[in-house]
Symmetry: C3
Subunit: 281 residues, 3 copies
Amino acid sequence: MGYDNFSTFHTSQDGAVLTVTFDCPPVNVQGIPMLDDLNRLAELLERDRGIKVVVFQSAHPEIWVCHADTHFLKDMSIDAVDRQDVKLLYLQEVLQRISEVPQATIAKIEGFARGGGHEFALACDMRFAARGKATFMQMEVAMGILPCGGGASRMARQVGLGRALEIILSAQDFDADQAEAYGTINKALDPDDIGPYVDALAKRIARFPAESIEACKRAAYASIDLPIQEALKEEAYQLFQATSRTPAIRRFAQADETGVQNSLENQRNWNQIVLAVQEIL
Amino acid sequence: MGYDNFSTFHTSQDGAVLTVTFDCPPVNVQGIPMLDDLNRLAELLERDRGIKVVVFQSAHPEIWVCHADTHFLKDMSIDAVDRQDVKLLYLQEVLQRISEVPQATIAKIEGFARGGGHEFALACDMRFAARGKATFMQMEVAMGILPCGGGASRMARQVGLGRALEIILSAQDFDADQAEAYGTINKALDPDDIGPYVDALAKRIARFPAESIEACKRAAYASIDLPIQEALKEEAYQLFQATSRTPAIRRFAQADETGVQNSLENQRNWNQIVLAVQEIL
Amino acid sequence: MGYDNFSTFHTSQDGAVLTVTFDCPPVNVQGIPMLDDLNRLAELLERDRGIKVVVFQSAHPEIWVCHADTHFLKDMSIDAVDRQDVKLLYLQEVLQRISEVPQATIAKIEGFARGGGHEFALACDMRFAARGKATFMQMEVAMGILPCGGGASRMARQVGLGRALEIILSAQDFDADQAEAYGTINKALDPDDIGPYVDALAKRIARFPAESIEACKRAAYASIDLPIQEALKEEAYQLFQATSRTPAIRRFAQADETGVQNSLENQRNWNQIVLAVQEIL
C-alpha cells in the first residue's frame, strides 16, 4: 500500500500490524511535515483492510512526540472570531482523522509526550506508557492559549472532568503512574514490559476481522456523543454493517454445532476459543 | 406481585429486596427464554413500588450469566441496513428496559460474565465482583461483530474511552481487580465478603423511599445524555416528582425542629440519621 | 474589588489567588445567606481578571460546607410540575454560576462535605481532600428527594455512572481515600500535605494568563456537553479568543527564537520553561 516516503516517521509491517516509528531529529517536533505525513497515513489507512492495528512509537531515546512547532504557532492569528465562523485548525483536523481510521490505534509512549504530542496520544484508541521514561504535560495555558489539538476536547472523555481540568490548568509534568491513576493512559508498564505487552495486544487484535474492529470503534466513539437510545441504534446499525462483511454468522454456526454453550469446559476456555475461531473464514 | 414461573431464574423477596438467582443449566445461557423472563421481570418491576432493590446473582458455581445464545446468533441477518431503518435488537431492548426499572439494581458477580452476560451487568446500576471467581470478556470482535447488547454503548459510560476500547477490541479475559482498576465494576471483593457487602448495601437502599430512588436514577442517567443546563432542569423536575410522592417535607421539617444543623454532634452522626429518619412517613 | 462584607465567609487575597474561608457557625450551613454570598462572589469574579484562582476552605475544625438549610427545604413545594414548566432552583443556579466563573476554582476539603456541601465541591473545577478529616455523603435519597444542587447531574461527569449511582443511592459516608479511588476528588492528601499542595497548585495556575485559564475552562466543560466535532469547534473558537487577549504569540515567537524545540536540554526543562515564559507580556 506504500507506507513509505514519509519524512517524519518510518513504518514497518508485520502481518496486519503497522508500526509507525517517529524519527524526526532533533526532537520529533509536531510540525507541518509531521501533520502532512499523518494526514497521508490516515488517507492510506482509510482504504486499507489489510492493516488492522497501528502502533505509534518513537526512535528517539527521550521523546515520543514533541509539542507543536513554534514556527507555525508564532504566526497564528490574534483576531478573535465569531463562533459561527470558526474553522477547525489543521492540527485538529489531522488528529481527528487519525482518531477515525478504521484500524485500532495504540500509542506506545516511552518518552516525553507534551502539548500536541500528548494530544496526539489522546487521539489514539489506547495508550500505554513506560515508567521512568514517559512524561506528560499540557503547557498551553502557560503560553496563553489552550490545548488545541483536540486535547481540551478529548481529556474529559478519558478521565473525570476534575482531573482533566487539573491537567489542563496546571501545565505541569506528570509521569506514567500518575497518568494511569488519573486515567489518561490505559496502563503504566515497566520499560522492559511495554514492548512485549503492546506487541501481544497488537497481534491479538490483528487476528480479528477488520470490519468488526471498525464496527467496535464506530459504536464506542458514537456512544459518548449520543444519548443512550441513539447510541443503541448506532450499535445495531454497526452490527449489521459487520455481519454483512465478516464471517460472523459462520463462526456462530460452528460455535453452535460444537456446542460451546453446552459445555462448562468450553466456557472456561474462551480466551483460546476467540483465537481458534479465526480459522473460520 | 407474582415473581415466579420464570424458566431461567428464580426469585426470593426479603422485605423490599428482590433477589434474582439465575439457574439455567448447564451454563446460564442468555437465550430467548432468559430475555423473555427478564422482559416480564421488568414489566412487573415497573409497576411495583414494594420492591426497591433487585440483586442479580447466579446459582451456578462458575458462571454468572453466559453470553448470548449461539442458536439465535447464527440466524442473524447478514444484510447491511440503512441507518434510518435500523431497529433495536430484542437483546438491546430488554437490557435497556432492565436498565430503566425504577428500582436500584445490583449485579453480584461470582463467575463468568462474558459477552451478553457482561453487557447485562453493564445494564445494572451497580456491579460488584468476587476476586478469584468473576471473569469478564467481550468476545464479539473476535467473532466478527461488536458487543450489541448495549455493551459498545455503555462501556465508555463507566470507564474512559481508551479503556473501553481496549476491553472491546482485545476480546480478552480480565478479572475482578482489573475490572475495579478500569472501572467497569464498582468494587472487587473477596469471595467471603461479597455476600455480606451486597446484602448490607441492598438492605440500606431498600429502607429509602421508592420514589426518591427512582428520581435519583432518572436524574443520574439523564445527566450523561444531556448538556449540563438540561441535566439541571431534569434534576429539578425529578425533585418535584419526588417531593410530591415522598415524606421528604415532613422529614426536613422534623430535621429542622430537632436542629440537626445546629449541632455538631448531629453532623457527626448523619450515617445513622439517614436510617432513623425512615420512621417519618 | 470589594471581596468583603460577606456574612458566611471571609476572603483574603494573595496576588491573583483569592482564598474564601467559610466561617458560619455553628456548622457552615448552606442557607440563603451563604447562597446570596456565593452569588455576589460569582458576580464579582465574573468581572475581575486580577483574580485567577479561587480556593474554597473552611474555618471550622470539622465541617467544610454543610448540607442545605433545613429551614428552606421544609418549605419546598410538594406539587409535581410539568417538565416544560420546571425552573432551576436558586441552589442550582448559584452553584452553576460558581462553576462558570472564569477563574480556576479549587475545593480544599478538610471536614464534612455532605449533601449540598458535597454538591458545591462538585461545582468547583478541582477537589482535594484531607485524609482522616474529609467525609462525604449524599443523603438526599434517604430524606425522600435527590441531590438537587447539581449533584445528580455532575456526579457522573466525574466518575463512572455505576459509582455515581452507588454514591447517590446509598446515602452513606465515605472518606478521602474512597473518594480518590472512585474519582469524585482529584486526590486524597495527608492533613499536613493538603495545605502546601493546594497552595503550590493555586500559585502555579495564578501565574498564567487569566484569559487562557478561562479558555481552558470553557473548552473543557463544553467538551462533555457536545459531540466531538462541535467540541473541537468550540476549542478552536476559544483558541482565537485567547490569542486575541494574551501574550501567546509573543511567547511562541520567543520560544521559536530561543530554539526550545531544537534542544533536548530545553525539552527536558518544560516544567520550568512554563514559569520563565511568564515574563513575556
